[in-house]
Point group: C2
Chain length 310, copies 2
């Protein structure tokens, strides 16, 4: 297949590029490096079936090549510090970026795959969150540039599916981690691993009792690959339902460095969700998918990658 991936230099995007190249597909990567990393493009630059286009997909996707089978829209700042630094760009890649991808898919008769997010559930009142939950998002808060952009992206994807017949997929990605995350990603696993490696205190927001669940990148990529093969157009959660408090995660990180590290408590950011955990019954039902990698071995892999780099 010929697959165009926006956000190909991002964390998830780069793992998709790798997977599809390994499976023998042709991949066109697109990124503007607003949050992607050049090093992620460099990994594949010499691959004979990989092409890279540097472009801001919010202003158009300048692809003029042969017929595409899939347009996968994975471009967007995704960590709170990044999207709050680029609120307008984040809003645009959710709206214009998604629409440009849909138009490209429509023109090629290709499938369109949207990377949405658990953030569409906001600070949820239902726990765990099934896909049928409508969410609790503050439309005017400091996180709304990301949350509302993704909700809009889902709405326009469904509109193109319903009114123009585009063969669409939507996934809601829950917290995902693994190699190739940006060191300044700003989310908890990256923060903890880098702080632990430097022997610095681990930063815990609030009292650390808020919970998160963490999915290893390979599990996510497997779920994406399976969902491409079935005709299911409504959103599907992809995440790991194993839930930890931030205090528990700090403790697991300390186990890796085999030393006691201090915690430092900072105030909770505005609109920070108190808990978030996927109901993955739908993914099990339609694609027989569930995550296979646990937090301990996943953390270990990230830790090893960072030790090699540092």
């Amino acid at each position: 297949m010929r697959i165009l991936i926006t956000g190909s230099a991002g964390f998830v995007g780069s793992h998709l590029v790798e997977r599809f190249l390994n499976e023998g597909h042709t991949v066109i990567g697109v990124d503007n490096y607003i949050s992607g990393q050049v090093s992620n493009t460099d990994l594949f630059r010499d691959h004979p079936r990989f092409t890279f286009i540097e472009a801001d997909v919010s202003h158009g996707i300048p692809y003029t090549g042969e017929k595409l089978d899939w347009v996968m829209h994975f471009a967007s700042p995704a960590s709170p510090p990044h999207y709050q630094q680029f609120p307008v760009e984040t809003l645009m890649v959710g709206a214009q970026g998604t629409q440009n991808g849909l138009e490209l898919a429509h023109a090629h008769g290709a499938g369109f795959f949207l990377a949405s997010t658990s953030e569409v559930y906001g600070d949820p009142h239902v726990h765990p969150q099934p896909e049928t939950y409508w969410g609790n998002v503050n439309p005017i808060g400091v996180r709304s540039c990301y949350d509302e952009a993704k909700r809009y992206a889902e709405a326009i994807t469904m509109a193109y599916h319903r009114s123009r017949g585009v063969n669409t997929r939507i996934i809601r990605i829950f917290n995902t981690y693994g190699p190739r995350m940006r060191p300044d990603d700003g989310r908890v696993i990256t923060n903890f691993v880098h702080q632990a490696l430097r022997g610095e205190p681990l930063t815990v927001y609030g009292d650390g009792s808020q919970t998160r669940s963490f999915q290893y990148i390979d599990d996510l990529v497997e779920g994406i690959s399976r969902l491409m093969m079935v005709k299911y157009h409504e959103p599907v959660n992809l995440g790991n339902p194993d839930e930890f408090t931030m205090i528990e995660l700090a403790s697991k990180t300390m186990n890796l460095v085999e030393s006691k590290i201090d915690l430092v408590n900072l105030d909770l950011p505005a609109d920070d969700p108190k808990q978030r955990r996927p109901d993955i019954g739908l993914a099990w039902k339609i694609i027989k998918w569930r995550p296979l990698k646990g937090i301990d071995s996943g953390l270990n892999r990230v830790f090893d990658e960072q030790k090699i780099k540092s």
Copy 2:
């Protein structure tokens, strides 16, 4: 002042044009007539301080005149039959249309006024709805092309206010009625009045126990005018909190024609909110505004207008 109004040929837009012209301002109207009416432009076509530009604001606002004081973004299909007929256009006028208005306001150092909607509350779990309620909207439902477009419009308006200093206003307009609504608007007051005038049965969806509140257009326009004068950037509800069931509204309509008319019950549309009523405490606090026109005299005005036309 020099005021540009998108959606100037729409129901609310045309009343704003009239108000501002009567107050001595210069008005530039912009509309593409996707849901606006040419007759609403014709009302002001010969006015020396009115200019009309036919354009789709989602693709840009081709204004090249003198410095603007306000950009008022009131363009959008707003009734469920209209926006469901034009889902992509509705999504675009909420995203690209709002952004084009914000960019124009930014370039002119003008204020930007966003017409948002009570639909951002979706099918609310909190009643009545204060501005602090985050809403209950289905991001992938058939109404999401409108609801999510408006939530996105609020988010990008706040982003331009926060990150680029644009002097913004956001109102959430609850059900509003009055002269110059499209006969095929599809919402209940227009339906009832036209059905009653034709002696047809009144269409009630579901069992008619769902409630709505209705604001007369002059009250809305007064609230808009007052909000322009205060620096308040977060959303403000403008609506009438007097609440009626559809059965009660049908009965009031029958009183107007002084005859007994049958009701015909149809199924409730998907995601139709069961109740919606504004908490208008904030508007009272910051602009000393509350609606003054009751439903009986308002209905009477609409009825008289339609009798003259028919």
